[in-house]
């Protein structure tokens, strides 16, 4: 009996080594969980539209993890595309270069709106960056002095906010969304609330002053959510006075359970975001290894299909799901740059 099993084991091992030599015939993508739903839609329709190619594999795991995998090197054992909800940063570009990934093509697929929402049992909510800053900053200015955030109830900040104690569920620091939240809400709110001048007067180093401006309170009122939006939704359903941060697409799919807040009086929608009226949005990207184009079957076709108007256009399935399409000239530019082989 044991001999039989050992030979089966040997068989498995031999299959393993034979397979290592076989060519990869499937595009491999990894990265941001924000881009994942869009990449999945494209991958699925790509597989259906081009029967000659297999459906690409799309891994989830976060922008940072995806770019790390992407920058491991060139060759079949490495992934072809990294999805990212933020631009690639300098240290990642250097890591790529060091591993031999010299030519990287950046592709901007569109924009993602970030919305603030409360449970649907609440009234209409209108917020401004200033309000969120006051509710969530670690230190605020009272009578011209920086003090630890004293606010306990939403009513102390803005009467349209839910009645009850302040509770906010914001993306954890590993999410790209957190950066956008800090940059577009906390930094602006800091300025509008007049805290920036006080902080600048106290701290001369510009970097430290900005960090102080965007620091979120850590007394349990603002909760970092390291999971996905489904977790934030569950928290809001459990705490009716809580305010959560969501992606526009997620909100649109769950609009019967949530009430979205206007920011500066603007209702978030694909229209207000693409026109630039709604202030909290960010571009989404993916990065392609130029050395893999033409080597991995279907990679070039997948990228071309992704950036065609059938997919990223304002009438395409990605916009249907919640992606904010880039303006016409930007989409055209992306297609031109990819065709010309423009690298970073």
């Amino acid at each position: 009996m044991n001999i039989m099993k050992l030979s089966a084991a040997a068989l498995v091992a031999s299959v393993a080594f034979a397979g290592a030599a076989a060519a990869r015939d499937q595009v491999q993508v990894a990265g941001s969980s924000t881009v994942l739903p869009y990449a999945k839609i494209v991958a699925e329709t790509f597989g259906e539209t081009f029967p000659d190619f297999k459906t690409p594999i799309v891994e989830s795991g976060g922008s940072g993890a995806g770019l790390k995998e992407f920058c491991k090197g060139v060759g079949e054992a490495t992934i072809d595309i990294a999805n990212s909800s933020r631009p690639i940063n300098k240290s990642e570009i250097e890591a790529c270069k060091a591993a031999g990934v010299a030519d990287v093509q950046e592709i901007r697929i569109g924009y993602d709106g970030i919305v603030f929402a409360v449970d649907s049992s609440n009234g209409d909510v209108k917020v401004e960056p200033k309000d969120l800053y006051k509710a969530l900053a670690a230190e605020v200015v009272v009578d011209g002095k920086l003090v630890a955030n004293p606010y306990k109830n939403w009513s102390e900040i803005n009467p349209t906010l839910p009645k009850g104690p302040i509770a906010a569920y914001i993306p954890g620091t590993k999410h790209g969304t957190r950066e956008v939240f800090e940059e577009k809400i906390m930094a602006h709110g800091c300025k509008d609330a007049g805290a920036q001048d006080v902080i600048k007067a106290a701290i001369t180093d510009a970097k430290q002053a900005t960090a102080k401006c965007v620091a979120v309170r850590k007394d349990g009122v603002a909760v970092d959510i390291d999971g996905d939006y489904t977790e934030t939704l569950a928290r809001i359903s459990a705490n009716k006075t809580g305010l959560g941060v969501f992606g526009l697409a997620f909100y649109e799919n769950n609009a019967d359970k949530l009430k979205v807040a206007t920011v500066n009086g603007i209702v978030p929608s694909t229209e207000t975001i693409s026109s630039g009226k709604y202030p909290v949005s960010r571009p989404l990207f993916f990065y392609v290894k130029k050395a893999h184009l033409g080597v991995i079957p279907g990679l070039k076709e997948y990228v071309e299909y992704f950036i065609s108007d059938d997919m990223v256009g304002p009438e395409g399935p990605l916009a249907e799901y919640g992606l904010v399409a880039a303006p016409d000239d930007q989409r055209e530019q992306v297609r031109k740059d990819f065709a010309a082989g423009k690298t970073m």
């Binding site: 044991n2 969980s33 839609i41 597989g47 989830s60």
Partner: protein
């Protein structure tokens, strides 16, 4: 009990002349202990029931799928207007099938094809998956072009959720994915029996999909099956051989003690560590493909080995020394003693340990994250070298989806996984019952 208590000197006598041997106190202590036991057990059962109730009540609807059965006219006009399919078979692949389905549904609903706004809303009642469904029908049998067939089409995910009552239709129209008009159509179709719930075979056979109505655990089941096969084939012989050597042949010294401590430690190492190891060794060093169930199987083998070794050693230890002594006394060699007498008697314990190890491996996601198996995989894997995913991974990925229809599917997939675990654990109990020997 009382009659067997023998008189013990030194215990003070009570007034009545009988010695107080604390019977009442001891009985009370026993009753209390039993109550604690019952309380602990009911605590566990309550939580198990809560878990099962929450999973089953949310998930049972996933095994039904809303379908729209309508006569579809495979009109040559729409599919192949220039009649070029003989010269160019590709034409049948790229034809505009969604329009065929949409127009058929519009006809059933009495909506004019020229009403652009309404016709769009009609199209949204149907899943985007109808494109491949109708295409596969036509490609398999081009003769149906020009005929009218009754076809059961998948309803869109939002319609499916609304029909099952999972979308709150009392909120304002703008706050939900389906419009009042679409709800009216849905009710109209349901009344005439065109739209109805059918058993959802798709959830068992389909691969991953971004459309909830077309998503299934098929690829994940195959991936999990491959991985379990690899784990069984590799870890059982290696684990049994290692434990027989350690238990029966190896000298007892500091070195084997060290090995034993390490094996026990490995059994408690967080599983993500095995994923890191798998990434470094199997993918980066040996160059095995990412996302392949082979790599997943190898990683889970490493994770399961300590469990199997510990179970096997315990099973071998439990075989009475008299069996070994008798065999050796009758002139059997050590090898014969072990393989003819000890191992068969230890088999139930070994198999139980193996199945529990496998069940543990079946439910594991963390080590698969790093080797690229937490991924969207739509194509069936032909061999263990092809990309695939696993059942618990599919649950995790569905749990993070935004669409309402994925909520029930997540619980549905949990029910499927639980069924597999129950089958495996019942198997372990039956094996033990069947082969167990008592001395």
């Amino acid at each position: 009990m009382t009659d067997v208590v023998s008189p013990v000197s030194g215990i003070p006598k009570t007034k009545a002349g009988r010695r107080d041997i604390g019977i009442k106190r001891r009985y009370a202590a026993e009753r209390r202990f039993r109550a604690y036991g019952v309380a602990a057990l009911s605590f566990g059962i309550i939580f198990l029931m809560l878990l099962l109730w929450s999973v089953v009540s949310k998930g049972y609807t996933a095994f039904q799928q809303t379908m729209i059965t309508i006569p579809i006219e495979f009109s040559e006009q729409t599919i192949d207007p220039q009649n070029e399919r003989a010269a160019n078979p590709q034409k049948l692949m790229t034809a505009n099938y969604p329009v065929v389905a949409r127009n058929a549904l519009a006809k059933t609903l009495g909506v004019s094809v020229d009403d652009r706004v309404k016709i769009r809303a009609v199209g949204q009642l149907l899943s985007d998956g109808v494109r491949t469904q109708l295409r596969d029908m036509v490609v398999a049998n081009p003769a149906i072009i020009g005929t009218t067939q009754n076809v059961a089409l998948l309803a869109a995910g939002d319609i499916d959720s609304a029909f099952k009552g999972q979308i709150n239709l009392s909120v304002a129209e703008g706050n939900r994915k389906i419009s009042d008009q679409q709800v009216t159509w849905m009710n109209q179709l349901a009344e005439s029996g065109v739209l109805a719930k059918h058993f959802n075979t798709g959830i068992f056979v389909n691969g991953a999909s971004s459309r909830p109505e077309a998503a299934g655990v098929g690829v994940a089941l195959i991936g999990s099956f491959y991985m379990m096969l690899i784990v069984l084939v590799l870890s059982l012989p290696i684990g049994v051989a290692a434990s027989i050597y350690l238990e029966e042949f190896a000298p007892k010294n500091k070195f084997t003690d060290l090995i034993e401590v390490n094996i026990n430690n490995l059994a408690a190492v967080p599983s993500i560590v095995y994923g890191l190891l798998g990434l470094a060794v199997f993918i980066n060093f040996m160059g095995l493909p990412r996302s392949a169930s082979l790599v997943g199987g190898l990683v889970l083998t490493l994770m399961t080995l300590p469990t199997i070794i510990i179970a096997t050693r315990a099973a071998l230890k439990a075989v009475p020394p008299s069996i070994r002594a008798a065999a050796l006394g009758l002139g059997a060699s050590k090898m014969q003693t072990i393989f003819h007498h000890v191992l068969p008697l230890a088999m139930p314990g070994i198999l139980t340990g193996t199945i529990i190890g496998l069940a543990h491996a079946l439910g594991e996601t963390a080590p698969l994250l790093l080797i690229g198996m937490v991924a969207f995989v739509a194509n069936y894997p032909a061999t263990p070298l092809d990309p695939s995913t696993a059942l618990p991974v599919q649950i995790y990925m569905w749990a993070n989806e935004a669409e309402r229809a994925f909520v029930e599917r997540t619980s549905g997939a949990i029910i499927i996984l639980l069924l597999f675990l129950i089958v495996m654990n019942v198997g372990a109990i039956l094996l033990r019952r069947r082969f167990e020997r008592r001395w």
